[in-house]
């Protein structure tokens, strides 16, 4: 796949001396949804700002649409959309006008039909005549999304699009993002809800203290780092594991009442193993009265990664 964004050796040191980005390397493929995960202060917003022209960088290069951003910024920016993390709005402006302005600002001719379509898709059409200050927080965020979509960007940055948004709107947002992907829009989003990345992203990157810790396909990452854990409670304690279970990563608890399975790879192999093990237990005449299975999520992987790297750098 042809890359839409290539970031190489990007470094940002803020005025106070804080290194917010440290030699960041990142390539985004055209048409993908990329989730950038990281704890507070990791550098996610800074990274987005560097691409969108809000942050001056101290080194490295950014190529967008195949060309150096410092040279082709004008044509590149026309095709990039940004929904900022902070709810920055003009309180006294009308919703409809505010969104239409964005389209003009990005150099496109006015197109009321397109603006209507965008407002409707975000359930803002009824609010188009309202002043922004009369909207709720979640509604304001939708206005910012509408503004970012008004110039029909090919590359869209969503900086925590679902922060402070209720469950229903979050589902709507996921749908909307799915629809944009259908239209071929490349999306880079940051989030603190791991389920969001798990639900939508094709690839996931983890950033911490300005460094990218890992970037991988979501499926590959889950397969590589994912685990299944199963605890089988036995009705009667057993002294040792029958030899037929030697092939499985199983341990027997000290009191002999629990079998603990820990294995698989996040691709479903673990669950199949557990099913096979229960069958073998039945065949061996070992009775059990409870099975507790837990698939590690992207969240577990993320927490592991961040905590692990914390030990390394500390």
């Amino acid at each position: 796949m042809e890359p839409i964004l290539e970031i190489d050796g990007l470094t940002k040191i803020y005025a106070g001396g804080l290194k917010a980005l440290d030699d960041v390397q990142l390539t985004i493929k055209r048409g993908e949804i990329f989730a950038l995960l990281g704890p507070n202060g990791a550098g996610k917003t800074t990274l987005i700002g560097a691409v969108c022209g809000l942050v001056r960088t101290n080194g490295g290069t950014i190529k967008a649409f195949g060309q150096d951003l410092t040279k082709n910024w004008r044509s590149a920016r026309a095709k990039i959309g940004l929904v900022p993390q902070e709810l920055a709005t003009d309180m006294f402006e009308e919703v409809g006008r505010f969104v239409a302005y964005s389209r003009g600002l990005f150099g496109l001719p006015s197109d009321p039909a397109r603006i209507e379509e965008i407002l409707r898709s975000l359930s803002l059409w009824d609010k188009r005549k309202e002043q922004i200050r009369a909207l709720s927080g979640g509604m304001k965020r939708r206005v910012l999304i509408a503004k970012a979509l008004a110039h029909e960007p090919d590359l869209l940055f969503l900086d925590e699009p679902t922060a402070g948004v209720d469950v229903e709107l979050r589902r709507d947002m996921w749908k909307l993002i799915g629809a944009m992907r259908e239209r071929g829009v490349t999306i880079i989003l940051t989030t603190h809800y791991i389920e969001e990345a798990e639900e939508m992203a094709d690839r996931v990157g983890v950033i911490r203290q300005g460094k990218i810790l890992m970037v991988d396909d979501k499926a590959a990452m889950m397969a590589r780092l994912g685990r299944t854990e199963a605890v089988i409670s036995l009705v009667r304690p057993i002294a040792e594991l029958p030899s037929s279970f030697a092939d499985y990563p199983i341990t027997l608890s000290d009191d002999g009442t629990e079998l603990c399975y820990r294995g698989g790879d996040g691709s479903g192999k673990g669950k199949a193993d557990v099913a096979a093990i229960t069958k073998a237990l039945t065949l061996a005449g070992i009775d059990y009265d409870g099975i507790d299975v837990h698939e590690s999520s992207l969240e577990d992987i993320f927490v592991d990664l961040v905590e692990h790297s914390e030990g390394e750098t500390a």
Partner: protein, 256 residues
């Protein structure tokens, strides 16, 4: 890459004008009221007892100066608020991420501020006719000069709005410098009425050149040679454009 985005510029320009329309009543009424008071007190009441200055009645003499007083403060405050507010609310992110450079931003913001000033200038000149008799010797030059001053001080206001990091700072420059310099710049008198050495010291006040230049376009007489005035105004304009180009190049106070 060189380019100029006409649509973006138009979007900024119209939006800024619309923003002013939302408060049209206050933003026009207040300066009109203030200038009317000046005309009543200095033009009609005191002016009656004053001798003519350079062949011009006192009431008429102060018209260009008062016009300038309003032009300077309105251009400065309009443009400075225009760029300060997005910085304050955070909506500047959109401008910075848009395909617009210094040229579009300037023409958009400064153009809108200057337009507002020009509308206001016309209203003030009309209001003045109610209180004093005056005529304009070189109308075309007068309009040109008014536009030049409006543009220059809108640029100055823009710089102020980028520099300020609080509402206090935004208000203090006009109060602390512009107002006194304008009062001392010959708004109500001709600088050769000043005793020595103040008439020479006054020449270090840049506003003297603006007032004098505008007065020349009205009555054909002035304290300073018209070309010197004109040159000083153009010089100020170029200086402001230079500073703004530098601000955009370095991202000073705009980009983190």
């Amino acid at each position: 890459m060189i380019g100029f985005n006409v649509r973006s510029t138009w979007a900024i320009y119209t939006r800024e004008l619309m923003r002013a329309l939302r408060t049209a009543f206050q933003s026009i009424l207040a300066p009109v009221l203030t200038t009317s008071l000046y005309f009543i007190v200095f033009g009609a009441a005191i002016g009656e007892r004053m001798p003519d200055l350079g062949g011009v009645g006192y009431g008429a003499f102060i018209v260009p100066g008062l016009l300038l007083l309003t032009l300077l403060s309105e251009s400065t405050s309009n443009a400075s608020f225009g760029i300060y507010m997005p910085r304050f609310t955070g909506t500047i992110y959109e401008l910075l991420s848009a395909p617009v450079g210094v040229a579009e931003t300037l023409v958009g913001f400064v153009g809108a501020a200057a337009t507002k000033s020009l509308i206001l200038a016309s209203i003030i000149l009309l209001t003045a006719t109610l209180f004093v008799d005056y005529s304009i010797a070189h109308p075309v030059l007068a309009i040109g000069y008014i536009m030049l001053v409006a543009a220059s001080f809108s640029l100055f206001g823009f710089i102020l709005g980028v520099w300020a990091d609080s509402f206090e700072k935004l208000g203090i420059i006009p109060q602390l410098f512009l107002l006194p310099l304008t009062f001392l710049g010959g708004t109500f008198y001709s600088i050769d009425m000043l005793p020595k050495p103040w008439d020479t010291i006054a020449l270090f006040n840049p506003i003297v050149y603006l007032v004098s230049g505008l007065r020349w376009t009205f009555y054909g007489t002035s304290d300073v040679n018209i070309w010197v005035s004109f040159g000083m105004t153009i010089g100020f304009l170029i200086l402001c454009v230079g500073i703004i180009a530098y601000i955009f190049k370095t991202g000073w106070r705009l980009r983190d």
